[in-house]
């Protein structure tokens, strides 16, 4: 629902052509298309998943943002919404799902638990924040964030996408893009991420 038009306002056009012709850059049209067709994965962890479903339902209707369909398969989705508490037992699965998603892919940490463990942070089976294992693009505080707060986060994600450029985007480049899957042993053992793995901030901006 961004107000931004396809036409690049920096390029002057005669008034009578405005609204009929769009002159734009590749980046602009590339991001415009990606921004308005983000498909989230149908993946709920805990309480926040209920609010995520409510966001998908008729009152808040995420499809107004081009996020029509929640895909149950990671192969067909662009966005992983971590909606709930990340437990150690679940972490290997989450990382595997993330690795299976096709690039470009984004992660939203929805709620206090996904951002930093939340009220359950002290628990022995709780990972204090999904950013321990995955690069996160947008954090949404709240316990749980209301559907409107989630929509606000999704709009923030659209801004993240708008700020990227195909020239610098890491997914067209060689290099390690896969995150090693943690293992369950006496406790959760996270293998160190490859040194040159891009952090959230560096991702194609």
């Amino acid at each position: 629902m961004t107000e931004e038009t396809l036409h690049d306002p920096q390029i002057p056009l005669p008034d009578n052509l405005l609204g009929r012709i769009a002159v734009t850059s590749i980046d602009r049209i590339y991001n415009w298309g990606r921004r308005n067709s983000v498909w989230p994965m149908m993946f709920g962890l805990a309480c926040c998943a209920i609010e995520m479903i409510c966001t998908q339902a008729s009152r808040f209707d995420k499809s107004r943002f081009g996020m029509e369909i929640m895909r149950p398969s990671p192969r067909q989705s662009d966005l992983l919404i971590i909606a709930g508490t990340v437990t150690k037992k679940m972490t290997p699965t989450i990382v595997r799902l993330y690795d299976q998603m096709a690039e470009p892919k984004y992660v939203i940490a929805m709620g206090a638990c996904a951002s930093g463990g939340g009220p359950f942070r002290e628990g022995y089976n709780v990972v204090p924040g999904i950013d321990q294992v995955l690069p996160v693009d947008v954090y949404i505080p709240g316990c749980p964030p209301t559907p409107q707060a989630l929509l606000n986060g999704l709009m923030e994600l659209q801004k993240v996408i708008s700020s990227q450029s195909w020239r610098t985007s890491p997914w067209y480049r060689r290099g390690p893009r896969e995150i090693p899957v943690p293992q369950l042993g006496p406790d959760l053992v996270v293998e160190p991420r490859p040194q040159n793995f891009p952090k959230t901030k560096e991702r194609g901006t």
Binding site: R64, G116, P119, Y139, Q148, N152
Partner: protein, 198 residues
């Protein structure tokens, strides 16, 4: 007849479909982007399209709505901010996930503790928005904010410090009118009792 149940179900779906257009026509120009339109869509008579067109229109939140706590201060006549908080620590002790950290200030000359926080931190990545801190605060100093549009790209600012937590009493009065009036009445009553005793 076999299949009647399915037809009946389809009929109800069709009615919902037609109703959405009918309601739009009936409420032409008033149905969307007006407060009365939102009120109607969340009333018990709502029919047709149920969607709130966030971000152009937002669901009004009730007075009791709670997200992150904030600290109330009053503007003094000389332009300084007077915190209501006395650093008594009840909020930090009652907080179920223990997300509040308070450092009590001490007198620089004597080193004795004074009723004033030197630091106050709330980790909103732990906060469960339960509202206990506001409920049990004996000085009406901590209240629950209603700001929910907090999405950000990194969480380095997710530990709110004193500066970020402070909000004027006028803001509290604006978002919690009924509670504010009740608190003020109680405060006046206490004041009157105190002067009566003296």
């Amino acid at each position: 007849m076999f299949g009647l149940g399915i037809l009946k179900g389809l009929g109800i779906t069709l009615r919902h479909f037609v109703e959405s257009y009918w309601e739009d026509l009936r409420g032409w120009g008033r149905r969307y982007f007006t407060p009365e339109g939102i009120a109607r869509r969340r009333s018990r008579d709502t029919r047709g399209i149920f969607t709130i067109q966030y971000p152009e229109e937002k669901l009004p939140v009730p007075e009791a709505f709670r997200v992150i706590p904030f600290l109330v201060y009053a503007d003094e006549a000389d332009g300084t901010r007077k915190l209501r908080c006395t650093a008594c620590g009840i909020c930090a002790r009652v907080c179920p996930p223990q997300c509040i950290w308070i450092v009590r200030a001490s007198d620089s000359a004597t080193g004795k503790p004074v009723a004033h926080p030197a630091e106050f931190a709330v980790d909103i990545d732990r906060c469960m928005n339960c509202g206990y801190c506001a409920e049990y605060c004996p000085f009406d100093a901590i209240r629950m904010d209603r700001e929910y549009e907090l999405a950000s790209r990194n969480r380095s600012g997710h530990v709110y410090n004193l500066e970020k937590l402070l909000k004027p009493a006028a803001y509290h009065a604006a978002i919690h009118p009924a509670a504010f009036a009740r608190e003020e009445a109680e405060r006046a009553q206490r004041q009157a009792r105190r002067t009566g005793d003296a």
